[in-house]
Amino acid sequence: MRTIHTDDIIKNVKEMCIEANLHLSKDMADAIKNAEESENGELGKQILGQLIENMEIAGKEEIPICQDTGMAVFFIRLGQDLHIEGRNLTDAVNEGVRQGYEEGYLRKSVVGDPLLRENTKDNTPAVIHYDIVPGDKLEILIAPKGFGSENMSRVFMLKPADGAQGVKEAVLQAVMDAGPNACPPVVVGVGIGGDFEKAAIMAKKALTRNVNKGSDLPHIREMEKELLARINDSGIGPGGLGGKTTAIAVNIETYATHIAGLPVAVNMCCHVNRHVTRVL
């Protein structure tokens, strides 16, 4: 049986926290650059120009792209034939976050109790989603999530009779309500099906998919394209100040659901759509 030590996991998580907050993935960065070239809104184009300059400064001078360095969200795929040595995996991930947010000069944005609201001062605990999968590898995906856009996210428990039409209206409503607050251009993560929480987790996971890669399902890929076009017809634009680039992508994930339900979750993400994956 293959064995890895939690010291390795801590070191990798630490580095990933820092990397994710300084560099966008190539697909996101390229999408913003392409949007700047094609934008025809006057303020919109100016704002996209600032975002490109911002990314360059962030990378070169190692200043976080955005001051909201997020709550650390993880999707971890643990191979069932892998043995982990040292401490428990959840503690190791949190230790990596603690070290990464401290050494990377990242903002500590987490309060320990949602009502008492005292800052934990090390950005822990992280939000961790585990999957047990075949094999002997450990795949760690970190997606630090800013809350300007997170606050504009929604879950709709639709009826089966609402169908595809109802799903589209729900997504459009969430994006229009978010307007400038979610820091457009946005990436829209959508989860359709499952149950209440499965839909929301899928919506979050959808944000981490390459923005150029549509769904593998033909009818869902069509829906993604149609929604993207309709969102960009709204004219909300970069910063909410008018333009054709309101969204970079609409990424939809689906799952089986109950005969009585059609859950739809919409997880909004700003243009600082950060995610880094490593396989150990």
């Binding site: 025809n40 809104g41 303020l43 919109g44 100016q46 704002i47 600032q50 975002l51 300059e53 911002n54 990314m55 400064i57 962030a58 001078e61 190692e62 200043i63 976080p64 792209i65 955005c66 001051q67 909201d68 360095t69 000069y105 990242l106 903002r107 500590k108 944005s109 609201r117 800052n119 001062k121 800013g146 300007g148 606050n151 307007g179 400038p180 607050n181 820091c183 709204s234 004219g235 909300i236 634009g237 910063g239 909410g240 100040l241 008018g242 333009g243 700003c270 243009h271 600082v272």
Partner: protein, 187 residues
């Protein structure tokens, strides 16, 4: 229209700013976000002094990342303004002249902006590395226990913002999208 202004700013000057103006701010501004607003608001309701005079001043809704050695401040972009809506009319009644943030404000805030002749600016959300370059000095003056949410007194130079709601209540978030769409239809 492009404008250069200095902060603090008098009402006589800020009423000449119009929604849609691209403004570069130089001078002194203060950072305060959620927790600092709550504490200032409660302190004022108790009739006590808050850490700085609101008179003619501009508040920046900001919680920066920590500064590294040699840096003035870390990443320093705006946070969503609507969370401060509960407190803003009261602060405007008490002398505050301007706010820098991002995103929509509620009707009570818009009414208070008009009534008190104030101005709401947006900075570009998610451009924290770029905006940090315009902050030349930063000093925590109060509420240090709030960490990133402490109140900072900052010297800024040509800090770029856009007038979103002017002293007459014109709201760029509404007019910009409409005029963009109308322009497209005319083409």
């Amino acid at each position: 229209m492009e404008r250069k202004i200095s902060a603090p700013i008098k009402k006589e000057e800020l009423i000449t700013l119009h929604a849609g103006d691209y403004v570069y701010i130089s001078g002194t501004i203060y950072s305060a976000r959620d927790a600092a607003h709550k504490r200032m608001y409660e302190t004022m309701l108790e009739g006590k002094e808050i850490p700085f005079s609101l008179e003619d001043n501009i508040i920046y809704y900001l919680g920066p990342t920590p500064a590294k050695e040699g840096q003035v401040i870390g990443s320093a972009g705006p946070t969503t303004s609507s969370r401060m809506d509960k407190y803003t009319p009261f602060l405007l009644e008490n002398g505050l002249n301007g706010m820098i943030g991002k995103g929509k404000r509620n009707q009570e805030v818009i009414d208070a902006i008009v009534k008190n002749k104030a101005v709401y600016f947006a900075a570009v959300g998610g451009a924290g590395a770029l905006l940090s370059k315009c902050i030349k000095k930063s000093e925590i003056i109060a509420y240090e226990d709030l960490g990133t949410e402490a109140i900072r007194k900052m010297e800024v130079e040509n800090f770029p913002v856009i007038v979103v709601i002017d002293s007459c209540g014109n709201n760029l978030y509404e007019t910009a999208v409409t005029s963009y769409r109308n322009n497209l239809e005319e083409q």
